[in-house]
């Protein structure tokens, strides 16, 4: 018995010494802990060092232009980007992003802006999901895990932005990077396949830039050197329904 005790003590000593050693090693290049750049690169996975955000400048967003919508449709294979949902009416069809026009009734001033999933920090869709299919990644992107989505559509009811759609019919010829199918809920994915591949932008932003409007900036809100972080620091920007306290990743300028 005493022998066992002796052995235990020795082991404890060894463990404690090695712990000290390990701590020393860790502390020596301590600057690394703070100096690691967390730029989004391919193959690293989602990290909470990053918060993906989008800034829409409504002054630059052209009325009647829907380049962002068609760009998204083409990239993710919904709407005009597919031949499916023939039997659904326009209210049933998928709508990952839509253009909204706001008219100030007092002045008659009309503003145009794209509306889609706002990628909330505290997403109501995730709160209400009974299966855990509605989820938020570490980098703030809100997604539907269609593998476990049962199509109950609670998230659609909970979303204040009307951002989610339900697929009512069987689909074919989906894009390889954007699986979608009957009986599941879907919404803007923040072009997560592009971000994970290191593109650093989304199809809607690319389409807007191609049109020459450059109304959408995509980037990491936590990186002080990113274009979006500098823009939100310099200009007054708004979250839609900020009163709900959801802290959206989408921000709008000029509304």
């Amino acid at each position: 018995m005493s022998e066992t005790k002796h052995t235990d003590t020795a082991r404890r000593d060894f463990l404690s010494n090695s712990a000290k050693l390990a701590a020393g090693v860790t502390l020596a290049p301590g600057v690394m802990l703070y100096g690691v750049a967390h730029a989004a690169t391919a193959g690293q996975g989602a990290s909470d060092k990053v918060r993906w955000g989008m800034l829409v400048d409504t002054n630059k967003c052209a009325k009647g232009c829907d380049a962002c919508v068609t760009g998204c449709e083409k990239e993710n294979g919904w709407g005009q980007g597919s031949n499916d949902e023939q039997r659904s009416n326009s209210k049933q069809k998928a709508q990952w992003i839509r253009k909204v026009e706001l008219r100030n009734t007092a002045t008659g001033h009309v503003q145009s802006l794209p509306m889609m999933c706002q990628h909330c920090e505290n997403p109501p869709c995730v709160d209400v999901c009974p299966t855990g299919a509605s989820m938020k990644r570490a980098d703030g992107i809100v997604l539907v895990d269609k593998h476990i989505c049962i199509g109950c559509r609670y998230c659609m009811m909970a979303c204040p932005y009307k951002a989610r759609s339900f697929v009512h019919e069987e689909l074919t010829d989906q894009r390889a990077h954007a699986p979608r199918g009957k009986g599941t809920v879907e919404s803007c994915t923040f072009c997560v396949h592009k971000l994970d591949a290191g593109d650093g932008t989304t199809a809607c932003a690319e389409a807007c830039n191609t049109e020459g409007h450059k109304a959408i900036i995509v980037g990491d809100l936590k990186d002080p050197n990113s274009e979006i972080a500098q823009a939100v620091a310099e200009y007054a920007t708004t979250q839609v329904r900020a009163d709900l306290g959801l802290n959206t990743g989408m921000r709008y300028r000029g509304i």
């Binding site: 996975g45 570490a138 989906q174 894009r175 699986p179 009957k182 997560v192 591949a197």
Partner: protein
């Protein structure tokens, strides 16, 4: 009872026969086993053939959770990677919409397995996978050198080169 035990003793052998039929040969011949099309490209799957036959679903499920929830899409076990090698892209002459000729579906139909992958996922790759990791430059070089298309010779060479990184 005796007859049953005799039958049971034959069953494993029969199963082994069915499952060990080479994919390429089974694609052209009728008879026992599913009509599995030969792979479009690549000489070697991401794991041993036997391992993939038995456990491909486990690899796929692990990758799916990692890719969707963790954002780590670098794994080699994605469904997209399967299709890259096993299903011809849409624009090629090999492409066929017939369900029976789809690599995954043909076997699943045979085994009466109902999987929901293709209710959402694309059934074929969007473009040619010439740059698939399994078709590495080393592999291409080997192919060029030994033009007389001897598959056996090529496989032997590939096996010999395995440690030097010809096939990854």
């Amino acid at each position: 009872m005796k007859r049953l035990s005799k039958l049971l003793s034959v069953l494993p052998a029969l199963l082994a026969l069915t499952l060990s039929a080479p994919a390429g040969a089974a694609g052209t011949e009728g008879g026992l086993g599913p009509n599995i099309p030969a792979p479009v490209k690549g000489e070697q799957c991401v794991e041993d053939t036997g391992e993939m036959r038995k456990n491909h679903m486990k690899y796929l499920k692990g990758h799916r959770n990692e890719a969707l929830r963790e954002g780590n899409r670098s794994g080699k076990y994605s469904l997209k990677e399967c299709l890259e090698c096993h299903v011809p892209p849409a624009e090629t002459a090999q492409a066929s919409r017939s369900e029976g000729e789809h690599f995954c579906k043909s076997c699943h139909q045979y085994a009466a397995v109902r999987v929901d992958c293709f209710e959402c996922h694309a059934t074929r790759p969007e473009k040619s996978a010439m740059f698939h990791p399994l078709v590495t430059p080393g592999m291409q070089t080997l192919k060029d050198v030994h033009q007389p298309d001897s598959a056996a010779l090529l496989n032997n060479l590939a096996e010999n080169q395995n440690n030097t990184g010809a096939i990854q």
